[in-house]
Amino acid sequence: MTRINLRVDQENVSDDVEPRMLLVQYLREKLGKTGTVIGCDTSNCGACTVHLNGRSVKSCNVLAVQADGAVIDTIERLADDDGTLHPVQVAFRECHGLQCGFCTPGMIMQAVDLLNENPSPTEHEVRVGLEGNLCRCTGYHNIVKSVLYAAELMQGASKEGANA
């Protein structure tokens, strides 16, 4: 067992974990953060995507001990404390970017990272940027649309901010 200390969704947490425990297992089993899900065992599907120190990672591809000292953000605290949704969440609902919703937490976390890096991506850039996240329901059409719409929302918001 190894002691780890980290900050997850804005709370400090500390646990003894087995060295082989994956970050996604730690989040789900130890912290009960079941908003992040597991879709595969080969790091292909992206369903487990979270942010580690502000960048997206597949949390099935990181050991819990590797996250020692890190800041982790998951889908569960993406919305504001008062429940105001993140623009990417808004866009996914608005554009019907989800059906069963199983891929959605990972898709949204990946999309947030993508837009942080590239605030006004082209359709092609969105498609390539989401390549590591599989969705079986939507055919990606409305996911791509959601991300492009989220970019618009965020640009609008930042313009408003600049004008204010």
Binding site: E76, R93, H96, L98, Q99, C100, C135, G139, K145
Partner: protein, 814 residues
């Protein structure tokens, strides 16, 4: 059917692109997937699976595993034999059908690689998995039946005791059933001066690959035994648990919480569910099993896997006179819950939208030593549509006509509906001309044809092809009487309850069981309009047999056309039931009341009262008429009178690099007629997702086995699900011929895209390079197969070795 006229004049909800009620919890991570559920004292199960395709089990040593730390118990098939029940096939397609007994845990023989042989139950999932490694099983390896065609010849028996691999033989013959002429006659005529096209097509084996791996929890600690399962079919599961394990149905509660996709892949009663059930009951504590993705790919049922031998007869002008179909359908090692019914569902669809004189469909489901095969999105109908839409293109070439024109020459004209087909189905409505005209316009058909010609003439390295698929399907399974005639083990009705709460809210219970389709939203829209209450006030409850005691679940594009109709009937009953009470409270005659926009009003006056007020009055029950009971809730069980027949025209433009065999999708357009639309946003999602699954069959996906019967595409590294980077955006639109067989005029949409897209893509690719001597390419059409075909190497042989690695596919798509 008069209900259409009785409906409230205003329908503010139906047809509106409401954002989904389901989304809030899904986009914020507040979901209840089965694997998210954890119960006090819950144990975890791991499964030891057979590495061999076919072997006798000669010894199982569970000792080391049993002694491992935190291990609760270990089981093999012998230990559970009396309590684990058995997995059944609900659709024996003939009375003589031969199917092997399917024990959840193998007892003395394994019949496919991946079959459960032993289980370990531990305090944690990791400990269970560790201990599973310690289980020592000895096998005597037997010869395995792996190749479908060879299996059909009984060269090696998948189940030696059965004496044959052939499950059954099922035939539909137009002459025999009186719906047309004799097929051999029209083929003979065509051989004499007409056109005969003979082809053999392969429907490769696919894996449904829903994103949420299957998970099951059984809690035996209460008076009732509760099962949570990632399933499409909680009601059928409950019934079959009772029927096969001897627990009274009333003691069983099955809950399908949030379910992450199914596509037919969760239309199954599974060994994993049955084993968890038996083990939890044995131990007396809650037990959970969640599969890994690799386990899912090898043990959840697969789809398709057919060889189709086809003989099409036509006049020399191109009028089709008949089709003869000989199907071999791989069932894998066991006959699943629908089983041989899947290929048989295709029987009514090979004739598609066309008018023929004769038709014969022969189907032989065959057992092999591979993962079992059952329903996958479209189930039987994509295979049929593929065959006929490919053949229509071949016919167009023979005759020298445009492939759209040859279709038009053969299809049922809009004024001919209702039309009884050569297969004996009566199509209620449709307008193929309208859908095709619209699709052509959206696509820019003539301009693309011109560009194609220009590039062909120029000898461009990258050639353009146009693929057409004018599909129809039968959905809304199904009229119970028809199912009875087909020997199916259940009916096709659906149930709904509408409960009027005293606060004015409405609880609606449906027997359909959604797993991503958006029922909570679409069904709320229907009920809101019908009762004239706000959309937000309607709550849809489903997926828990204790809440929704009666239902037949979700598959076969049935939820809206069957389940939706049950809602309408139940809501109408509420309106009727509340009427005498409203009249009583308004001191008016029942005959003078009319209902509209949620209000009962007294004709010719301004007096009236809302249905919510009536609900509250019922709750108080202080004042109600003699002879009436204080309740206005109602339920309804609707049995459809017919299937529904959506159709559409899908057009695909694809570019083929003649030097590398690389395929690039350039444009995909479709115009579907799915009758009246409840929620266009949800419909668009169903169409997009369906199209991509159809395209994926054409281009990428295949479950591949090596020659010892091991699934080599057993992970997401090898099984090529398309990514966002592999696909394109689509243009979709609709024409509308309302269905005449249900009140709302709706038809199903869940499977349409998948059914239509596969032949559209293959037709496009073949069209691009036909002038270079290619008339078929085996699916999935990898660049290598296309290139080989271009080198004159034929269409490529069916896959027998490893699929190409995913990263190569990704390289190619850039």
């Amino acid at each position: 059917m008069t209900a259409v006229q009785d409906a409230p004049a205003a329908s503010p909800e139906i047809g509106r692109d409401r954002r989904r009620k389901e989304d809030q919890r899904l986009i914020t991570g507040r979901t209840r997937w089965t694997d998210n559920i954890s119960l006090p004292g819950m144990l975890h199960m791991a499964i030891v699976r057979s590495p061999h395709a076919h072997a006798r089990i000669t010894g199982i040593d569970l000792d080391a595993a049993d002694k491992a730390i935190n291990i609760y118990d270990v089981f093999d098939g012998k230990k559970l034999q009396d309590t684990m029940g058995v997995l059944v096939n609900a659709w024996p397609i003939t009375p003589e059908q031969q199917a092997p007994t399917h024990y959840p845990l193998a007892v003395d023989r394994v019949a496919f690689a991946g079959q459960p042989v032993a289980v370990v139950v531990a305090r944690s999932a990791a400990e269970a998995r560790d201990a599973a490694e310690l289980v020592d099983i000895e096998y005597d390896v037997l010869p395995a039946a792996l190749d479908l065609k060879e299996a059909a010849e009984d060269k090696v028996l998948a189940h030696p005791d059965l004496g044959t691999n052939k499950v059954a033989f099922w035939q539909l013959d137009s002459a025999g059933q009186g719906s047309g002429r004799a097929i051999d006659e029209v083929i003979a005529e065509a051989r004499d001066g007409g056109i005969v096209i003979e082809r053999e097509y392969r429907q490769q084996r696919l894996i449904p690959a829903f994103m949420e791996p299957r998970s099951v929890i059984v809690d035996p600690t209460g008076e009732q035994i509760t099962m949570w399962s990632a399933t499409q079919i909680p009601h059928i599961t409950r019934f079959l648990l009772a029927a096969t394990t001897g627990v009274p149905e009333s003691k069983i509660r099955v809950i399908a919480p949030d379910v992450g996709g199914g596509f037919g892949g969760k239309l199954q009663t599974t060994p994993e569910e049955w084993i968890t059930w038996a083990v939890a009951r044995w131990i007396g504590k809650p037990v959970k099993y969640t599969e890994t993705r690799s386990e899912s790919l090898v043990s959840a049922h697969h789809g398709r896997d057919q060889w189709q031998r086809l003989t099409l007869a036509a006049t020399k002008e191109g009028r089709v006179t008949g089709l003869k179909v000989d199907l071999l359908a791989d069932m894998g090692a066991y006959v699943g819950v629908v089983g041989g019914g899947v290929p048989v569902l295709g029987a009514w669809m090979f004739n598609a939208i066309y008018k023929w004189e004769a038709y014969q469909f022969n189907c032989t489901p065959v057992l092999t030593n591979k993962t079992w095969v059952d329903a996958y999105r479209g189930a039987g109908r994509p295979e049929a549509t593929y065959a006929v839409e490919r053949l229509m293109d071949e016919l167009a070439v023979e005759v020298g006509m445009d492939p759209l024109e040859i279709r038009e020459m053969n299809w049922i004209k809009h004024e001919e509906f209702p039309f009884t087909t050569v297969a004996g189905m009566t199509y209620d409505s449709g307008n193929y001309e309208a859908a095709t005209a619209k699709a052509k316009e959206m696509f820019g058909y003539d301009a693309l044809r011109a560009e194609q010609k220009e590039r062909r003439d120029r000898g461009d390295r990258v050639q353009l092809g146009i693929g057409i698929s004018t599909f129809t399907e039968m959905c809304g399974l199904a009229p119970s009487r028809v199912l009875g005639q087909l020997n199916y083990g259940a009916g096709g009705w659906e149930h709904a309850t509408v409960r009027m709460l005293p606060t004015g809210k409405v609880e609606v219970i449906t027997g359909a069981s959604a797993h991503g389709q958006g029922h909570e939203t679409a069904f709320s829209q229907i009920v809101a309009d019908r009762l004239g209450v706000p959309f937000e006030d309607v709550e849809i409850l489903h997926g828990d047999t204790q809440v929704s005691h009666k239902g037949l679940d979700t598959y076969g594009s049935r939820s809206l056309v069957v389940g939706g109709e049950a809602l309408v009937l139940a809501a109408d009953k509420v309106i009727e039931k509340a009427k005498p009470l409203a009249a009583h409270l308004l001191e008016a005659n029942v005959e003078d009341l009319e209902f509209g926009n949620g209000r009962y009003s007294v004709r010719g006056t301004d007096q009236g009262m809302g249905i919510a007020e009536v609900a509250l009055a019922t709750f108080a029950a202080h004042n109600y008429p003699e002879g009436m009971e204080p309740g206005i809730d109602a339920e309804s069980t609707y049995d459809p009178i017919n299937f529904s027949f959506p159709h559409g025209t899908h057009l695909c433009a694809a570019e083929v690099d003649t030097e590398t065999g690389q395929i690039t999708l350039r444009k995909y357009v479709c115009c579907d007629d799915i009758g009246n639309i409840i929620n266009p946003l949800i419909v668009s999602g169903q169409v997009h997702g369906g199209i991509v699954q159809g395209i994926a069959q054409a281009l990428w996906e295949e479950a591949v086995y090596d020659d010892s019967g091991t699934l080599v595409s057993g992970s997401f590294v090898d099984y090529l699900l398309p990514t966002a980077a592999d696909t394109i955006s689509f243009e979709i639109d609709h024409t509308t011929s309302p269905s005449t067989t249900n009140t709302l005029g709706t038809k199903g949409v869940g499977e349409a895209g998948t059914i239509a897209a596969t032949p559209a893509v293959v037709n496009a690719v073949v069209d691009a390079i036909r002038h270079l001597g290619v008339n078929d390419i085996v699916m999935p059409m990898t660049p290598e197969r296309v290139w080989t075909a271009l080198q004159g190497g034929g269409r490529g042989t069916a896959t027998v070795e490893a699929a190409e690695p995913h990263f190569e596919g990704q390289e190619d798509s850039r």
